[in-house]
Symmetry: C2
Subunit: 452 residues, 2 copies
């Protein structure tokens, strides 16, 4: 019955999602502020249309949070659905094969910024809810909390959660913002890395100089910054910031073995990325490097003359954005402090260094023995014919640890994306099949969860 | 008499120079092609107005070269004046206190891109020529060769020189494109560094990736590039490219001592640049580091997300522009090859590296015992009341070594700029006093040279 409902409404579901994808709700860019709000209003309307009560566009100091709920019975379990309607910036635009905010379907995939992360996945939940309402099948109380600042650190969601503990009471959090191993290997994410995102500005001379007149005698901020970045990893790929690994939980040999049993094809992985070799911390596999080990990556660098041709400038400034992915039990605030202290320590006296923290989030591990996890697992068995594999994801959803801390709730990370969906990259896409089977699996989750 | 002529025509001289400075003749930027030509046509007209014969806008594969001459007698010595009417890009625009192509005089200085490098200095020669013509004082034959590609490597000037050896016959080359130590310490540049300007692009994965999903497992091109840049200098500030120093001429202790006798105030130097410490090759003074030692500087770097806020991207590519200043007897082509080979050698297998050569030029040393040098020295004594100090400049005028090779001619580098003029930087400026006294000194040079 649910299958049939999805099938007969498929075109409308996609049309509505496309309307949402057309809104360039880039939370990082202040020029898109009105667009972000427009996306929030869109979510408000669609929750109302689907039958939610008490739908509210909740103002914050930043972008608004959309709340909505449907209570069927005080004795039924309550599921709190979290997701985000904001998206990453679409840059670099020239690498997109179709405009990022003009969704199109190619090869069975929806191409648009946010198609997978997270508008497409949020919209599965709204449509699953609609279907259950229409078919009179809703067997759990349901609450929606869809925010607009996930891509910039969810600063105001933390405040909202603290101020709305009563309203947000539930039995479990359900989030679709992660990936499956593949359509043949369904999986549920049970670990997420935390994040500490920093920016460093190095200033040498007080103005851009002629590199001929001054070159060789005055510290060049690009060269100095490069040296500092280079020094952040040792020859084994370990991060050199003192104290960085102090709180890292090392997995047992048995757990590592189990983790590495997940299907993974290194040859395919390298082929997909067109690289000859992977590179990472010595002594760990690729699955471990992205799942259970903390890492440090430069996300952007700039300084001096970057235009056409040659300009012989010794620039005044150079900057880098660096993010660190954290694992249990690292603390993002502590890592931010260690990073800041380290950078100021390693700076030569010939330059000035300014370190700024962008945003952070805590690592999280979710249980595999909870009722909710079992319901999610059963849903996969019912819809996919296979039990999902528990995996550790490299990405961060900072709010998961906050939910645990503030609401005392565990999260089930039932994501339907694929690592190859190019989220945060040009040509982000999301399989139409993933979108539709996701709706079906979510509905099945509610059915199983209400019976646990 | 000459003093008086300059005084009574001062305002017109400046008005004309301002007209030239208003033309954004940025040779590196293809969007400015028509402007570069307009500047060439301006020079053509002003040479004609001043009384030059055979004035010609000579086409090249790139920007045109302006030629003009005045022959007074076959027995008189001939001076070939070289200069350039093209300018550096004005970026970063936001750091200019007045627009780069809207010249203004503030505190006795002309602020505009090209005011010193080299339009202002070229224009002194045209006005010195005009004055000598008007006052019937021209005592040498004079030839002008003013090009439009100095800031992008003078590629086509080399061809022009080879094809016009007869037309360019002269006794000496006279160039004003360098600096004085100060208005109290007149100086003549007797050494120039060469240049090799490179660009390196590092490609990791074939697309921008989510740094959470892939970070720590896939080579990050920014981190890898930073490591490669960092490895180009050792702990003593020496360039690590094998063979880099092989052909460097080491100065005798006596020559080094003499070089270091030039007035130089390290405290003032640091104060002017707002730096706490200088940084450079161990065992050499600041004067030596910029005068007689080869150096390597990053001129620009870019990659990944450089916009507002945070984007957790593991970028596909990162790039850097790097230039090396060369000293006798380094060869720019050889250094370009050594650099290219070295970069390909040090690249880890996890990335692909593309190295491109922008432009180069050879280092040069000019004699201090020639008739022309002595005439220039006498001119300073006559006008400034002081003998000029011979200095080594850090910058490059690649054409100087070409003139020696192709035309067999030595050059006199009689520049009137100051190191603090911010050439190649925002707020480039040129002293009105420097401009006017420069004209007078140039006229005096001709008087002395014709009597040698």
């Amino acid at each position: 019955m649910i299958k049939q409902y999805i099938q007969s409404n498929q075109q409308r579901f996609l049309d509505e999602l496309f309307d949402l994808l057309r809104i360039p709700s880039v939370s990082a860019d202040s020029r898109n502020k009105a667009d972000v709000r427009k996306a929030a209003e869109f979510i408000v309307q669609k929750l109302k249309d689907a039958g939610a009560d008490a739908v509210e566009l909740c103002e914050t100091k930043g972008h608004p949070i959309v709340y909505g709920q449907k209570t069927i019975s005080n004795s039924a379990p309550t599921v709190l659905v979290y997701g985000h309607y904001d998206v990453q910036p679409p840059d670099p635009l020239n690498l997109w094969t179709s405009p990022p905010f003009e969704p199109v379907i190619k090869d069975g995939k929806i191409f648009a910024r946010g198609s997978c992360d997270d508008k497409g996945q949020v919209y599965m939940h709204i449509k699953a809810f609609e279907a259950m309402m229409k078919l009179n099948q809703l067997s759990c109380n349901i609450k929606f909390m869809i925010e607009g600042e996930e891509e910039v650190g969810s600063d105001n969601l933390g405040i909202f959660v603290k101020e709305n503990k009563e309203r947000l009471k539930a039995d479990v959090i359900l989030i679709s913002d992660t990936s499956l191993i593949s359509l043949d290997h369904p999986s549920i994410t049970v670990g997420l890395r935390g994040l500490s995102y920093m920016e460093v500005e190095v200033t040498g001379p007080n103005r851009d100089l002629h590199s001929g007149v001054y070159g060789g005698a005055v510290a060049n901020p690009i060269n100095v910054l490069s040296q500092m970045i280079a020094s952040l990893h040792d020859e084994n790929g370990k991060v050199t910031i003192p104290g960085f690994y102090d709180k890292v939980v090392e997995l047992s040999e048995a757990d590592r073995k189990k983790l590495n049993e997940a299907p993974f094809d290194l040859i395919e992985y390298k082929k997909d990325l067109a690289i000859d070799e992977v590179l990472g911390e010595k002594g760990f596999t690729t699955i471990e490097r992205t799942g259970i080990r903390p890492t440090l990556d430069a996300n952007g660098i700039w300084g001096g003359y970057t235009g056409e041709g040659a300009k012989t400038v010794l620039p005044s400034k150079a900057s880098v954005k660096i993010s660190m992915r954290l694992v249990p039990n690292q603390d993002s605030h502590e890592i931010t402090q260690l990073f800041t202290k380290h950078f100021l320590t390693i700076a030569p006296k010939s330059v000035k260094v300014k370190v700024t923290a962008h945003h952070g989030g805590e690592p999280a591990v979710t249980p595999t023995n909870s009722k909710a996890y079992k319901a999610a697992s059963d849903a996969f068995v019912a819809v996919w014919g296979k039990a999902p594999i528990p995996t550790r994801d490299g990405g961060s959803i900072p709010i998961v640890s906050l939910f645990k801390k503030e609401l005392g709730l565990d999260t089930v990370l039932m994501g339907f994306g694929l690592d190859s969906d190019a989220i945060h990259s040009p040509n982000e896409h999301y399989g139409v099949k993933n979108f539709l089977i996701g709706i079906e699996t979510i509905v099945s989750f509610y059915q199983h969860f209400s019976k646990k």
